[in-house]
Symmetry: C2
Subunit: 884 residues, 2 copies
C-alpha cells in the first residue's frame, strides 16, 4: 500500500513547474497554463496551485482542509520566499501575493481575484520605502482592504464606496486620482472600521490569516447561486470543484521602467499574422481597462523599447509554437523585467478564425483536421450575411429570438400586402407581424427582414426566414403590435408604419434597432472556400438542402449542397397565379371539379420541377407531396374572405361555410399529409404526374434526373401502401406515354412517433426514410411549436430543458426514436437510405448526432448548408480520433 | 415417403362422419358441425364436405382442381346414392342436392345456398309422381333455375323478377302462391331463355354439370369484393379459403306428415331453461321466413305430434349436453322422419346470456371460467341502461356514433343555458350541439341525452357522456345544426327547439328518433351479480374508475370499482359557484392576485375531495392535478364574453385581449398539464393543500385515506422533479400543521411519447405510472381526436386502419410504447405500480392487452366498470388456459 501523503499543492516558478497543461481537471485551466508556461521557459511570477481535489475534500468535510494541506501551503510559501528573496509577512522585505480561482471550465460567477495579500500596516511602510511611491502603496492598501471586505467577507460594495465618495466630495473632485496618500490612508482606517462594524470580524493584519481566509472564500465561491445556475445551464458537474492559484505580485507601476499590457499573437479581427498589442508604462492592468489613459500600440513599443518588444516577440513565438493556437497574453514589466501573467486561446471573429486556421496549416503548425475542428459551425453563418457595423452607435429598443441571421434596414409595414405595395415602389421594408402564416410568404419575400412578436425558433416566420436567408427576429415579446392602429410600441416608444427600423441578428442576439443603420457586407474569402473544401473531404454524411425555388436551389448548390433533401411542393401553390386555382380546387364540391382545377395546376407544377431539376443536374431531388391542411390555403381575415369571395364569384356565406367546415381544433394533428393524399388521391396524382413529366422532358434533354418521391405524415404502413400503389400507377402511366424508363425512389417521412415505432414494417414499403424532426419533436414532446412561447423560456431558465428541442435535437427522447427508426428500418431493409430534413439538419449539435445515428445525409435550409458541412466534418474527424 | 393421394372430401351420413367439430379450419364451421352431429347420432341429411384445402389449391392453380378431387366427389356421390337409395341424375328416382359454402369464420358476402341441384326437365316428372304435388315441384324447379342464374352465373336478380311480375300481373295477383303449376312451368322456360340470352351459356340439364358449376361458384365467392372487404375489416386472412358442403335434399312440404321449423334449446330472449321453437307442417323453411303463414308454437307441437316433440326434445338434450351451449337448430320433417339441417350457437340477448351461463354452471354443464368467458364484455353495458322498447314503432331520422349507451327522451335544446333553464323547470331535454366543450358540462348534466353533429367516440361529448352514464350520440353527420335558427334539419325534416326527440344507443347503433318513445328499465338480475362475482374472482387486473363527483364514485363502487384511477380535478372548476373565481384567477395579472383567488377555491376543492374520499373509504384515489389549458375556462362566444365582462366588472376589450393572449394554435399540444403547474406553481400548491387537508380531516375521523397524487403531461423527468419537489413541500407543510403523518404516493401520467421512451428515467421519481392512452394515441398517431372525422371513417372503410384507435388500443404502435413504458419503468423501479386511465381502460380488447402488458389496473368511466371486470377476467382465464 502506498502510504505517501496525498499531494494537494503544485508549485511553479524559476523555470520549472510540478503541473502541466494536461492537468486541467486537477489544477483548473489557469493553474495548468501557468505551470505549462513555466515549464516552457516563459517568465511567470512564481506561485503555486491548490488542486481541485482539495476543494472537493473541503466540500465533503464541512469546510475542513485535508490532512497535510496546511503544511504543503507553508512549504510552498517558503519556496516562494526563497526564489523572490522576500518574506511573506515580513516588515522589511515583504512578499505580496495574489489569489485567483480557476476551475477546469471557464466559469463566470466565481470569485475572480484578490490582490496584494500580505499588505498590512507594517508592510506598507517597507514597500513605500522600496518603491518611493506613497500614494501608490496606500491606494493598493485601500483597494486590498476593500476587496477583502467585499470578496472574502461578502460585504456590499456600496459600504466602501460611500466613504470614497465623501472623501472626493470633500476634495471637490470626481476622480480617485485627485486623492492624495493621506486621503487614502484615512480611507484604509475607515474601511477597517466599517468591516468590524458590519461583520463583527476584525480585518486581519496577519498575512497568513489573510491568505487562509481568501483561499477559503475561493472554495466557497464554487457554490454561489450564480455559479450553480451557470453549471446547471451548461451541464457542468457540481462535483468538480475549483483550484486556487496563489502567485507572487508583480507591479507595472513601480516607475518608468515598469509597465503593463495585453497582446494577441495574431490579429483577432482579421486573422492576419501580425503581432498586435497595447501597453502603458508605469501603470497597472486596471488603468488600461478603466480607459483613463490611452494605451500605446506595439508600433510605439518597437520604437521606444526595442529590447522589450523583441523579448515579447520571442514569447509570442514560443507560445504559438507550443500551443499551436493564437494566444491572448497579459504581461507586466516590473523594473525592466518582463513577466507573463496569463495566456489563453484568443477570442476571434469567425472571419479571423477561418484565416488563422488556413494560415496555420500552411505554416505547418496544425493539420487540416485540426483546422476544420477549430471552425465553430455555430458561427459559420456569420460569414454569409450582412451585419450592423459594430462600431455604429445604435439604439436597441427590443430583443427577440435570433431566428435567421443577418441584418435588415427598412420602413415598418404591418401587412404582407403593404409590404408588396411598398417593395413594388422600390422601398425597403421590414415586415412586422404578430406571427406569420403561409399567406405572408409573398410579403416576406418582398421585405428586407421580418419581425414577429410571437413564435419560437421554428415558427413559420423563422423557418421561412431562414429558408429565404432573410434576417428574422421572432418571439419579440418586448413589442406590442397594434395591427389595427398600424403601429407597434415598446414601452413609451411608438413605431408607426413607415418609420425606419433595423434588425440585427448575430450570434445569440436578435436586436431591434430604432432608425436606419449602416450595414457591412459579408466577405467570402478564399480561406473560407479552402476550409469548406477540407470539411467536405473530411465528412461522411451527405449534406443536402431544403429548397423549393430555383433561387434557393442555386444558393444551396453554391454553398455546397449535394442535392435537395426536401422540396416542399405546397410552397409552389402560394404563387399569385396559382393560389386562386388552388382555392377553387379546395372549395370544389366534387372530385370532377377538383380534377378540373388540378389539371390547370399540373403544367405549372411541372414547370417548377423542370427548373429545379435543371439547377440540381445529376444531384438527387427529394420531392415531398402536399403536406399542409387545405385550410392553410384559404383566406383568414374578414377582408381577405370578402376579397376572395368577390374574385371567385361565390357567395360570402358559402365561402365562410366552407372555411368553417375545414376548421380544425388542432391543425397540427389534423387532416394533412398523406391523410389528404388518401382522401383526395387526385391531388397526389397530379403532383406525381408533374414530377414524372418534368423528369421525362429533361431525360429527353440528356439530364440524369432521379426523382425521390416522398410521402409525408405516414404513421401506419397501410397509409404508405395505399399512396404508393396509386403513385406507381400514375408514374408508370407517364413513362408509358413518354416511352421512357425513369429511375425513381418512393420513400416516406418519419415524423410521427408511430412511424418510428413501426419502422420495420414501414421499411418494407419504403426505399428511403427522411426524419422530419420538426413534427417528430412536436409529437414526441407534445409541444406545439406555435404555442411553446408561453412556457419554453421558463423551462430553459429553470433548467428543466437544457435547450430548445426545436433547435437542438433532444437526443434522450426524440433521438431515441430516431435511433429506433434507423435500427428497425434497416432490420428489414439493410440498404435503406436514411436522411433528416427537419430544421435540425442545419443545427451543428444535431448534425453530429445524425452522424452517430448512422444517417446517410442531412438536409437543411440553404444558408445552413456550410454550417452543416463543417459539423458533419467535425463528427467524422472526432469519430476517427476516437477510433484511433 | 407417404405416396397416398391427399384427401379433399369428407363424408357424413348414416351415423358416422369422417370429420368432427375440431376440424373447422379444414371443413369450415358448417361442415364441421354437420360431421359432429352425425357422429353423435343426430339424423342429418347425409352429404360430404369439400375441404378448404381444395379451395386453396383452386386459387393457387388458376381454378384447377387438385388431382383426385373429381374422383373423390364421384365416390362420395355414389356413397350418398347408396344410403338414400336414389340416384343423382336418374330420371326415375332422382337424388337432389343442396350446396352451401362454409368457411372457418362466419362470413357474409359469400355464396349462401343453391338448392335442388339435380332437377331438370326429366327428373321433375319423377318427383311429381313421387310427391303428387305438381305445383311444389315446378316452383322448386323455377327457384332452382333462378338461383342458378343468379348465384352461379352472376346474373341480376331483376332479370328473372320481371317475368314473375309479368305473370302475376297477367293473373291479376300480387302473390306468388296464386300462380299455378302451368304458370311456373312456363316461367322455367322463360328463365332458361333469358339465361342463354344474357350469358351465352345454356342452363345445364346435366346434374353433374350443375353440381360442378355450383361448386366452382362457391370457390369463386370466396373472393367477391364484399367478402374481401369483410375479411380486411375483420382481419381474417385471405388465404384460408372456403369449404363446400354438398348435402342431400329433404323436403318439409311433401305432405301433411312433413314440416319444417326452428328451435332454440333455451329461451334466447330471457335465458330461461325452456325449449322454444316454431314450426309449420307441409312447408319449407322459406315459408316460415316469408311470414305468409303464421308458424305454430312448440306447445301445439307437443299436443298434436307428441312423438315428434319427444324426438326433438331428445335432440335438444343431446345437443346441449354435447355442445354445452345453447343451440339454434333448424329441422325438417320429411314424411314423418326428423332431419336436423343445422345447429349452431344461438344468438341471445345479453340478459339471456348471463342467465344461461349461471344456470349451466348450476346444472354442471360448464365451469365458472367457461361461464365468464361466454359473457361478451362488449355487450355488458346493455344491462345497465334504459332502452327503447324494441316493439315500439319508431321513426329513425338519423344515425350517429353510439358514444354512450342507453336511451333518452326529451325536448330539443341547442345551448347549455337553455338546457339548464328547461331542466330547472322540470322539463326533460336533449342537448343538441355541433360539438361540446367543457362549458357544456353543466348543460349536459341537466339533459337526458346529448346529440352532436361532430366528434368521434372519444370527443368531449362522448367522454363526458359516458362518464355521466348519459345516452349520447355523436358525429351525427346526417343532421345540420343551425344554432342561430334554434333548429336542426335532416333532409326535409325540421326539428325546432322544444320538439321531442328520442336517442337510442344500443350495440353499434346510435339512433335519432323523431318524437317521444317509451323506454324500458334495465333489469339488474341476481344472475348478473353472480357472474360479476365470478369474474371478479377470476381476474388479476385491478379495475378502478374515472370519477370526479360523489355520484360517479357511488355508481362505480356499486358496479365493482376498486378505487378511483383518475379523478380529474378540473371538472370541479366548472361549478357555477367556482367558474367566476377560476376565471378571475386566470385573468389575474400577478401571482399575488392569483393566489387570492386560489385561496377562495381551496376550501371548495377540499370539500370535493372529502366527499369523494368518504365514498371510496379505504380504496385508493388517484387525483390528477389540473390538466386543461386555462383558456378552456374562459367564455367563447361574443355573448358569453359580454356577460362575463359585465359580471366580472372588467372592460370588454380587456377581456377579449386576455382571451386572445391565451389563444393557442394547437391547444392539444399547448400550455397545459404540468406545464401549467410549473409556470404557475401556486395552482398545484392549492390543489395539493386541498387534497392533504381533506385527507387529514378524514384521517381524524378514522378513515384510511391514501391519496395518489398524479402529475399530468410529463414528458421529461425534470418536469416531474420540479413539480414533485414543491408538491412534497406543500404536503409536508399541511401534515406538520395538522400534526399528522399521511401515507401518499406521487406518480405521473404516461401520455406523451417521450415519457414512454424515457420511462426508465421517469420511474426514478415516480411511485406509479398511469397510461393516458387518449393523449398517447393522439400524439403517437399525430391524430387530433377532435379532427379525425374528416379522414378516419375513410381509413376504416378502406381498411387502412382496422378500428378507431381511440376505441381499441393500437397494439402495434401505441401498445408498443405502453410495453416500452412498462419495461423501462420497471427496469429502474421493479415494484412500480402501473395503470391505465385513458378511455381504453373500459374497452374489452384493450383491457386484455393491458393484462398481457403486465399492468396492475385499468380505470374507466363508471358504466364501463362491469365490462372491464369481465374483460379482465377473460384475459386471466385465457392466460391460465394457455399456460395449462
Amino acid at each position: 500500500m502506498d502510504n505517501a501523503p496525498k499531494k494537494y499543492v503544485y508549485f511553479f516558478g524559476d523555470g520549472e513547474a510540478e503541473g502541466s497543461v494536461e492537468m486541467k481537471s486537477l489544477l483548473g485551466g489557469k493553474g495548468a497554463n501557468l505551470a505549462e508556461m513555466t515549464n516552457i521557459g516563459i517568465m511567470v511570477p512564481p506561485g503555486f496551485t491548490i488542486s481541485t481535489e482539495a476543494c472537493r475534500y473541503y466540500y465533503a468535510n464541512d469546510g475542513a482542509y485535508p490532512e497535510g494541506l496546511e503544511g504543503e501551503i507553508a512549504q510552498n510559501l517558503a519556496r516562494l520566499e526563497k526564489i523572490t528573496e522576500k518574506e511573506f509577512g515580513d516588515a522589511k522585505n515583504p512578499m505580496l501575493l495574489s489569489v485567483r480561482s480557476g476551475a477546469a471550465f471557464s466559469m463566470p460567477g466565481m470569485m475572480d481575484t484578490v490582490l496584494n495579500i500580505g499588505l498590512n500596516d507594517k508592510s506598507v511602510a517597507a514597500i513605500i520605502e522600496k518603491t518611493g511611491n506613497k500614494r501608490f502603496v496606500y491606494d493598493s492598501y485601500r483597494r486590498f482592504v476593500q476587496m477583502f471586505g467585499d470578496v472574502v467577507l461578502g460585504m456590499e460594495h456600496s459600504k466602501f464606496e460611500q466613504f470614497l465618495e465623501a472623501k472626493k466630495k470633500l476634495r471637490n473632485t470626481k476622480l480617485d486620482t485627485d486623492l492624495d496618500s493621506n486621503d487614502l490612508k484615512d480611507l484604509v482606517s475607515k474601511y477597517k472600521e466599517i468591516i468590524i462594524a458590519d461583520t463583527g470580524i476584525e480585518f486581519p493584519e496577519d498575512p497568513e490569516k489573510q491568505l487562509k481566509m481568501t483561499i477559503d472564500s475561493v472554495f466557497e465561491s464554487w457554490n454561489t447561486d450564480r455559479a450553480i445556475t451557470y453549471r446547471n445551464l451548461n451541464n457542468i458537474s457540481h462535483d468538480l470543484g475549483t483550484a486556487v492559484n496563489v502567485q507572487t505580485m508583480v507591479f507595472g507601476n513601480m516607475g518608468d521602467d515598469s509597465g503593463t499590457g495585453v497582446c494577441f499573437t495574431r490579429d483577432v479581427a482579421t486573422g492576419k499574422n501580425e503581432f498586435y498589442g497595447e501597453y502603458l508604462m508605469n501603470a497597472q492592468g486596471e488603468d488600461v481597462v478603466a480607459g483613463l489613459r490611452t494605451p500605446h500600440t506595439f508600433g510605439q513599443l518597437k520604437k521606444e523599447l526595442p529590447e522589450m518588444y523583441r523579448e515579447l516577440e520571442a514569447v509570442r513565438d514560443r507560445l504559438e509554437k507550443h500551443y499551436r493556437e493564437v494566444q491572448d497574453v497579459e504581461f507586466t514589466i516590473e523594473s525592466g523585467k518582463l513577466y507573463i501573467l496569463q495566456t489563453r486561446g484568443a477570442k476571434r471573429t469567425i472571419q479571423a478564425a477561418v484565416k488563422i486556421v488556413v494560415d496555420m496549416v500552411d505554416e505547418g503548425l496544425i493539420d487540416r483536421d485540426t483546422a476544420v475542428l477549430r471552425v465553430n459551425p455555430n458561427r459559420v453563418d456569420q460569414l454569409l450575411h450582412k451585419r450592423v457595423d459594430p462600431e455604429a452607435a445604435v439604439k436597441v429598443i427590443a430583443n427577440g429570438l435570433p431566428a435567421s441571421p443577418g441584418a435588415a434596414v427598412g420602413r415598418v409595414v404591418f401587412s404582407s400586402q403593404r409590404a408588396l405595395e411598398c417593395a413594388g415602389r422600390g422601398e425597403d421594408v421590414v415586415l412586422v407581424r404578430l406571427e406569420t402564416s403561409p399567406d405572408d410568404v409573398g410579403g416576406m419575400h418582398a421585405s428586407q427582414g421580418i419581425l414577429t412578436a410571437r413564435g419560437g425558433m421554428t415558427s413559420h416566420a423563422a423557418i421561412v426566414g431562414r429558408g429565404m436567408g432573410k434576417c428574422c427576429v421572432v418571439g419579440c415579446n418586448d413589442i406590442d403590435v397594434e395591427v389595427a392602429a398600424n403601429r407597434f410600441t415598446v414601452g413609451d416608444i411608438v413605431v408607426n408604419e413607415g418609420d425606419y427600423i433595423t434588425l440585427n441578428v448575430i450570434g445569440d442576439a436578435g436586436e431591434v434597432i430604432l432608425g436606419k443603420t449602416d450595414l457591412i457586407d459579408p466577405e467570402m474569402t478564399g480561406d473560407f472556400k479552402t476550409i469548406m473544401d477540407w470539411a467536405t473531404d473530411a465528412k461522411r454524411l451527405g449534406v443536402r438542402t431544403n429548397a423549393d425555388t430555383v433561387h434557393d436551389s442555386k444558393v444551396a448548390r453554391d454553398f455546397g449542397a449535394e442535392g435537395i433533401g426536401l422540396c416542399r411542393t405546397e410552397h409552389m401553390f402560394f404563387g399569385e397565379d396559382r393560389l386562386p386555382i388552388v382555392q377553387r380546387m379546395i372549395l370544389a364540391g366534387s372530385e370532377e371539379s377538383r380534377k378540373e382545377c388540378l389539371k390547370k395546376l399540373m403544367p405549372m407544377q411541372k414547370e417548377d420541377f423542370i427548373r429545379i431539376f435543371e439547377v440540381m443536374k445529376d444531384h438527387p431531388v427529394t420531392i415531398r407531396l402536399l403536406d399542409p391542411p387545405l385550410h392553410e390555403f384559404l383566406p383568414k381575415t374578414e377582408e381577405e374572405i370578402k376579397e376572395t369571395a368577390a374574385s371567385m364569384n361565390i357567395g360570402l356565406d358559402e365561402l365562410k361555410g366552407s372555411i368553417q367546415s375545414l376548421h380544425e381544433t388542432n391543425p397540427m394533428l389534423g387532416h394533412r399529409g398523406c391523410r389528404l393524399g388518401i382522401t383526395y388521391p387526385e391531388i397526389y396524382e397530379m403532383q406525381v404526374q408533374a414530377i414524372f413529366e418534368a423528369a421525362a422532358e429533361l431525360a429527353g434533354d440528356g439530364y440524369k434526373v432521379i426523382p425521390e418521391v416522398m410521402i409525408p405524415l405516414v404513421g401506419h404502413i397501410n397509409e404508405l401502401k395505399f399512396t404508393k400503389e396509386r403513385l406507381i400507377k400514375t408514374a408508370e402511366g407517364v413513362m408509358k406515354r413518354c416511352g421512357m424508363d425513369i429511375k425513381y425512389l418512393v420513400g416516406t417521412m418519419i415524423e410521427i412517433p408511430r412511424a418510428a415505432v413501426t419502422a420495420d414494417e414501414i421499411a418494407e414499403e419504403a426505399e428511403f426514410f427522411s426524419f422530419g424532426t420538426n413534427d417528430l419533436t412536436q409529437m414526441t414532446f407534445g409541444f406545439s411549436r406555435d404555442d411553446i412561447g408561453k412556457f419554453l423560456p421558463f423551462y430553459i431558465k429553470e433548467g428543466i430543458l437544457e435547450s430548445d428541442p426545436f433547435v437542438t435535437i433532444d437526443q434522450d427522447g426524440v433521438g431515441k426514436l430516431v435511433e429506433m427508426g434507423v435500427r428497425k428500418g434497416r432490420s428489414t431493409k439493410p440498404d435503406l437510405k436514411i436522411g433528416i430534413c427537419g430544421e435540425h439538419g442545419g443545427n451543428p449539435a444535431s448534425v453530429e448526432f445524425c452522424h452517430r445515428a448512422g444517417l446517410d445525409y442531412v438536409s437543411c435550409s440553404p444558408f445552413r448548408v456550410p454550417a452543416a458541412i463543417i459539423a458533419a466534418a467535425h463528427a467524422a474527424i472526432k469519430e476517427k480520433k476516437d477510433d484511433a
